[in-house]
Amino acid sequence: MDPVTEIEQRIDSARSSFEELRAEMARVIVGHEELIEHVFIALVCGGHCLLEGVPGLGKTLMVRSLGEVLNLSFSRIQFTPDLMPADITGTNVLTDDPSGRKVFDFQRGPVFAHIVLADEINRATPKTQSALLEAMQEQSVTVGGRIHRLESPFMVLATQNPIEMEGTYPLPEAQVDRFFFKLVLRFPSHEELARIADLTTAAAVAPPREILDAPGVLRLRQWVREVPLAEAVKDYAVRLVMSTHPQQKEGNVAGGLAQRYVLYGSSPRGLQSLILAAKARALLAGRPNVSFEDIRAALLPSLRHRLILNLEADAEGVNAEKILGEIVAQVPEVI
């Protein structure tokens, strides 16, 4: 087949799959279109997401539905202070084999799923958190000296409750940096709330149909990395990331809030996340190349959790979103 035709079909397939996924998710989940898009983008980019929102916004339903639409196994881990690492990764259990001998049998933990929802990750101890974070990074767990590979594609969606921070173990910045996206769930609007009531208090809704499967997601991951990126667009992304660093002079054209409130800017992981997300967005939109708009759309979820702000920002109520908004306004596309 002509390579161009093949690519066209590929792109068309990706776009249509995404459109169908959105439509199917919209039957089950009210609102959160952007959230669903970002979660799917993170999935096809091979990243993990940190979700922040108050309880009852439909995080678990959304993740479970996503697993069903993508035909991916789903597991939910409710993190509590007494949760142990073995509760996540699994453990060796002494059992009897058919011959009656005592043997250790590895019992897989809930992390062995395609999509893992780590609910309120900040409530567990750092030791338990690290067990999950190791799984996220290595896509494997080590138990009893043996390495157990996790499913592929594998994605963790960790949640944090922003209103109950007392007695929790906030993730250190170095661990937060490993998440591909940080997504903030907003409270539904009036219409959305009304529709939620209709969906959840009436007859049960039919489960979503499968749109894609694991191999399909893996193909999308591969296609994402093949999307061409122009030097000018890449340079724009680099300047955006450089502008989050107040100490950097080269390529830093932003001033004002970033200079005043940012203690440390984004790591290179932020740039990787930004560019991969932009590529994924272009692919899912049916475009063969990355545009400036794709970069700008991916900026906030990619970088909002990677800026370390000083106490003055905390005192004056300046958050990372405000700073990133100013950076986008100040950094030109081409210099």
């Binding site: 390579p3 161009v4 093949e6 690519i7 066209e8 792109i11 093949e226 999307v227 061409p228 990126l229 122009a230 030097e231 000018a232 667009v233 475009r287 063969p288 190349n289 990355v290 545009s291 400036f292 708009e293 596309e333 081409v334 210099i335």
Partner: protein
């Protein structure tokens, strides 16, 4: 195929943008050059006569053009911007810029080929000139009006009319200064009736004008002017009448005498003048004039009468002597000033053609004794505090003899000696009453002090009080 088409299309776009920039650059350079040329009108005074001022904008263009060209040279970022303009205008979502970069790569994968194909499809029908038309910049709008303004102003000699060459900015030449000096000398000679001075001024002006026309060197001019000055000096010395009373008179007294002679002449020309009145009566009337009286006194002795014609001839003779002396002195002054001017290396402020005789006398009376007054002279002379080469000590004073102190011309302090009374040995008188009064004052002062015993104070007071009554006046 797509890549080739796209390469051509991008080349058209970039070429068109470069051409527009060059045109704008030319317009900017043109505007800047002609604008600066208009602002440079005051500097036209330093240009030689001829077509040079018409070439000023071209010279400026030669300087401004390369600078602007360097500053606005085409860079890679400009190419990127030009291609991105396509994306923005056609809403290609950066397909054009991606395709442009892909065309520069040696090999392209499947996705890159799709980008090229889609970009080619969208850009095939694009005409850069219609998509990015020329925009009128300020320089394009201003270029022709500026040129017209410059041309019109220059055609009407506006620069010369408004910014006339100010000759005072350039130091005057020696010939110019000599000419101005000669004119002033002539003016003064005409006002005072000094014929020799007038002749000298005319000859000096002639020399100066010849030097200016021939653009002669300063040395030649000095030689010519010096020759004129020497000629008049010799003539003046030859005319000096040693017996004339005027040689010992001061300039002020001569001028006063001349003024009185003019007044007397006018008086005698009035209706009912000398012919009708007795000569003695005229003599008395003329003797009322102080300077004239001195010279008429020998003719007023008792028993000696003069006729009216004799009086007239006397007055004419006096006038001739006075005018001749004034003329001689003016020539000498001018000669010395000329010598000084020729010796100076260049123009010095306050000198040059500031040749003027001040009223109130610039020569003092005969010297010897008296009070010395150092004041700033009002005649041009040497610099204050400096002795010139021609410094002379004061002449030997002789009692009763009229003499003349000659000074150096030029600005500077002047030393003058004032005398009260005749500096000759003779008797002096002092009143006895004055002496006695002073004695009494001294006595009182001593008596009031503690140095005199109280018992003797009365005795001493009585003695001094009796002095004035007993002692006769002594001469």
């Amino acid at each position: 195929m797509s890549a080739e088409n796209l390469t051509t299309k991008f080349a058209d776009v970039i070429g068109w943008e470069r051409r527009k920039r060059r045109e704008r650059l030319v317009a900017d350079a043109f505007c800047l050059s002609w604008g600066l040329a208009i602002l440079a009108f005051p500097l036209h005074v330093y240009l030689p006569d001829g077509p040079w001022r018409w070439l000023v904008p071209l010279v400026l263009l030669a300087g401004v053009g390369p600078c602007l060209a360097y500053c606005a040279r085409w860079r890679r970022a400009d190419t990127t911007r030009a291609v991105l303009q396509l994306d923005k205008m056609l809403r290609l979502a950066e397909r054009a810029i991606t395709a442009w970069e892909i065309t520069a790569r040696p090999a392209a994968g499947g996705a890159a080929l799709l980008v090229l194909k889609q970009a080619d499809d969208r850009l095939r029908a694009v005409e850069p000139r219609s998509l990015f038309p020329r925009r009128r910049s300020w320089s394009v709008c201003l270029a022709l009006p500026l040129f017209g303004l410059w041309f019109a102003l220059l055609w009407r000699d506006f620069d010369r009319q408004l910014f006339r060459h100010d000759k005072s900015l350039t130091p005057p030449t020696l010939a110019y200064r000599l000419r101005e000096f000669a004119r002033e000398l002539q003016e003064r000679a005409r006002s005072e009736g000094l014929h020799e001075s007038l002749k000298m001024g005319e000859e000096l002006e002639k020399v100066a004008r010849q030097a200016m026309d021939a653009k002669a060197s300063d040395d030649e001019l000095k030689s010519d002017a010096g020759g004129v000055a020497r000629k008049f000096e010799a003539e003046t010395k030859a005319r000096v009448d040693q017996d004339s009373f005027t040689a010992g008179e001061s300039r002020r007294s001569l001028e006063d005498l001349k003024a009185e002679l003019e007044a007397a002449r006018d008086l005698m020309q009035l209706p009912g003048a000398a012919g009708e009145q007795p000569a003695a009566q005229w003599m008395e009337r003329l003797a009322a004039l102080p300077q004239l009286r001195r010279h008429l006194q020998p003719h007023m002795r008792p028993g000696q009468s003069s006729t009216g014609n004799e009086i007239k001839s006397l007055l004419e003779n006096l006038d001739r002597q006075v005018s001749g002396e004034l003329d001689r002195r003016a020539v000498l002054d001018a000669q010395r000033y000329l010598e000084q001017m020729m010796k100076q290396p260049g123009r010095q402020d306050g000198e040059g053609h500031q040749y003027a005789r001040t009223p109130g006398g610039d020569q003092r009376e005969s010297p010897a004794g008296g009070e010395e007054d150092k004041s700033r002279g009002n005649r041009p002379g040497k610099e204050p505090g400096k002795r010139g080469e021609e410094y002379r000590s004061l002449p030997e004073f002789r009692a009763g003899a009229s003499t003349q102190v000659k000074g150096l011309l030029g600005e500077g302090d002047s030393r003058a000696i004032e005398f009260k009374g005749k500096p000759s040995a003779g008797k002096s008188t002092l009143g006895a009453a004055e002496v006695v009064a002073s004695y009494r004052r001294q006595a009182e002062q001593e008596l009031n002090s503690e140095r005199v015993p109280d018992a003797l104070k009365e005795t001493i007071r009585n003695y001094f009080m009796s002095l004035g009554a007993e002692e006769p006046q002594q001469k």
